[in-house]
């Protein structure tokens, strides 16, 4: 109804039917081989039967394979069992599929039929009747007159979902303490250990050009927990030794390295992948996820890719027993940026 009122914009298609070619109607139907020749029909039928037979054989073969092939766990035996079962299934399915389609194509009627369409729009009478029914119902309920009742209904319906949403939201985020993003378990004196073996490190273990993936040294039994995995996700560190002459250090961070050994967070400042591809000759660290590249010799600054900030540096030193230890926690949150990062 409203579409007729909208005449600000006029359509100028001018599709005058006289300018058009007439519809030639449906093309002539061509007979198939199977329609003309009973032998061809017989042949097609045989083909369909054979395809169904292939399916039956496939099913049987699959079942036989299931009961007879027992892989012993080696890659090859599992692969063979998988192949046997899968190919059996393939033939069981494909046989049915091809048979059904071939049957439909060659033996079922291929005379195209035409069916009329009707506009989606209801007729005006139906529309009017529908509106009348709704009006009558609304009138009957008196929703329009009873303002307070209307308000009560709306309020009650709007409020009740809170009974589910509030408990859900308050529990779903654990303790909601996002300040945890700012801290890791590195403390002054925490020893550096090799990931995943847990072996402790001395400066002389690290030669120029080598890289060590490091975790904080915690007792082995503590490493079997989710708490550890979650802490490890923030605490992993890369240890690299560079020639002192190649190492550029900010004045305030001169004391953060030890004899050319520097420690940087392994968590990318972009979206948090472990940045782990170390190119010894260029001192570049490359993230395999999005190719952010950091220069370890120059404060782990970004030299390429989607990260903005350098990797946070872990200040390190050597303890009384000669082991490498942290001087403190990181002085900034590790990993990807978030809104309150600097707050």
């Amino acid at each position: 109804m409203s579409e007729h009122k909208n005449t600000d914009l006029t359509v100028t298609d001018g599709s005058n039917e006289l300018d058009r070619f007439p519809d030639p109607g449906m093309p002539e139907h061509k007979l198939r081989m199977a329609d003309k020749d009973p032998k061809a029909a017989k042949r097609a039928e045989a083909q369909v039967v054979i395809l169904f037979l292939i399916s039956i054989v496939g099913t049987i073969a699959m079942l036989i394979a299931y009961f007879t092939i027992r892989p012993d766990g080696t890659t090859e035996s599992v692969r063979n069992a998988n192949l046997a079962l899968g190919l059996g299934l393939f033939f069981a399915l494909m046989g049915i599929g091809l048979a059904a389609v071939h049957w439909a194509k060659t033996l079922m009627s291929d005379h195209e039929k035409s069916e009329e369409r009707h506009p989606q729009r209801s007729s005006d009478e139906v529309r009017e009747a529908a509106v009348a029914v709704l009006k009558e119902g609304a009138e009957d309920s008196g929703i329009a007159r009873r303002g307070v009742l209307k308000g009560a209904v709306v309020t009650a319906l709007a409020l009740f979902p809170l009974t589910i949403v509030v408990p859900l939201i308050s529990s779903i985020g654990g303790d909601w303490d996002i300040a945890k993003f700012k801290h890791t378990i590195w403390r002054r004196g925490t020893r550096l250990a090799i990931d995943p073996t847990g072996k402790l490190l001395k400066p002389e273990d690290i030669t120029i050009g080598s890289i060590v993936h490091v975790i904080p040294d915690v007792p082995a039994e503590e490493r079997n927990s989710h708490h550890w995995i979650t802490e490890k996700a923030k605490a992993i560190v890369l240890l690299v030794r560079l020639d002192q002459s190649e190492l550029k250090e900010a004045p305030d961070r001169k004391s953060w390295s030890y004899d050319g050994i520097v420690a940087y967070s392994k968590i990318c400042t972009h979206v948090g992948c472990p940045v782990a591809l170390y190119e010894r000759q260029t001192h570049h660290l490359l993230c395999p996820c999005h190719q952010s590249t950091f220069d370890v010799a120059d404060g782990a600054k970004v030299v390429f890719g989607p990260a903005k900030r350098p990797l946070p540096q872990l200040p390190i030193m050597v303890d009384d027993e000669g082991y490498l230890v942290a001087q403190s926690d990181f002085d900034e949150p590790v990993g990807p940026s978030y809104w309150e990062r600097l707050k």
Binding site: E76, V101, A276, Y278, E279, L286, P288
Partner: protein
């Protein structure tokens, strides 16, 4: 080696492994003992022959004193392991400059390579070529190796050693064709972009575990064709080629009029 690896998951594995280890150790001893006896006298000849080869093939870039220059590294103190790796994999002598030296058919046979290695090793102490026992995958612990490989190697070389990209056209090569000795030497010496994994950070036993893991991966995938073990990208490519491709083919057949 493949047949061995295939049996490794068997119940009797420990027994077989033990027997095998004994056999291999014995065999190695038998094989190595006579050469080590004549090693001292042979060594001098090897170094001399190696020096000749060096002067003819390497000195142009590395210098007659092997001290290197500008971009070319010094070879003093790199040890026989580095030479055996670089020359044995055909990376050296380098034919042309590129983002990195690539493996190609080796220019020298094993004897010449050994002579070169002996000469370079004589220039200064450095990591030496591992023994056959040090790189024997049958003696390594695959599971330990998997854990170490995952943390230290997979980021460049891919989870099962299929290789991967580095920056500026450099790359970490596939490890499927690399010999056990060369894998060991690469870890030990850190060729080109690769960092050094010395014996303090990854012990010789752990290096052997890594080799055992890598050799185990050569059996391929349990699920069928490995599609290069490149992960979801190659899987995605194949679903379009095989999956959508063949199904559109079938759809065209279904939609076409029968003759």
């Amino acid at each position: 080696m493949k047949a061995l690896a295939a049996r490794r998951h068997h119940r009797l594995t420990p027994v077989v492994l033990l027997l095998l280890a004994l056999l291999v150790t014995g065999g190695l001893y038998a094989a190595l003992a006579p050469t080590s006896a004549s090693a001292d006298t042979a060594a001098v000849d090897d170094i001399a022959a190696g020096e000749k080869l060096f002067l003819a093939n390497c000195a142009t870039c590395h210098g007659v004193d092997a001290e290197g220059r500008d971009e070319v590294p010094s070879l003093i103190g790199v040890g026989s392991a580095a030479v055996n790796f670089q020359v044995g994999t055909g990376r050296m002598p380098m034919q042309m400059n590129g983002p990195q030296a690539v493996a190609k058919p080796a220019q020298f046979d094993q004897e010449q390579t050994n002579q070169l290695a002996a000469y370079v090793a004589s220039l200064g102490p450095g990591p030496s070529t591992p023994t056959a026992e040090q790189v024997d995958p049958a003696l390594g612990d695959i599971s330990e190796g998997a854990a170490i490989f995952r943390t230290n190697c997979a980021m460049c070389h891919n989870a099962v050693g299929a290789g991967g990209a580095l920056s500026e056209g450099k790359f970490a090569p596939s490890l499927w064709e690399t010999t056990e000795t060369h894998i060991y030497e690469a870890m030990l010496t850190g060729p080109q972009s690769m960092p050094v994994f010395n014996d303090a950070t990854i012990t010789p036993e752990e290096k052997r575990d890594v080799i055992a893991f890598l050799v185990d991966q050569r059996e391929g995938s349990a699920g069928g064709l490995s599609l290069g073990s490149l992960g979801p990208v190659s899987e995605g490519l194949w679903i379009w080629i095989i999956g959508i491709g063949s199904l559109i083919g079938c759809a065209v057949w279904i939609g076409a009029k029968s003759s």
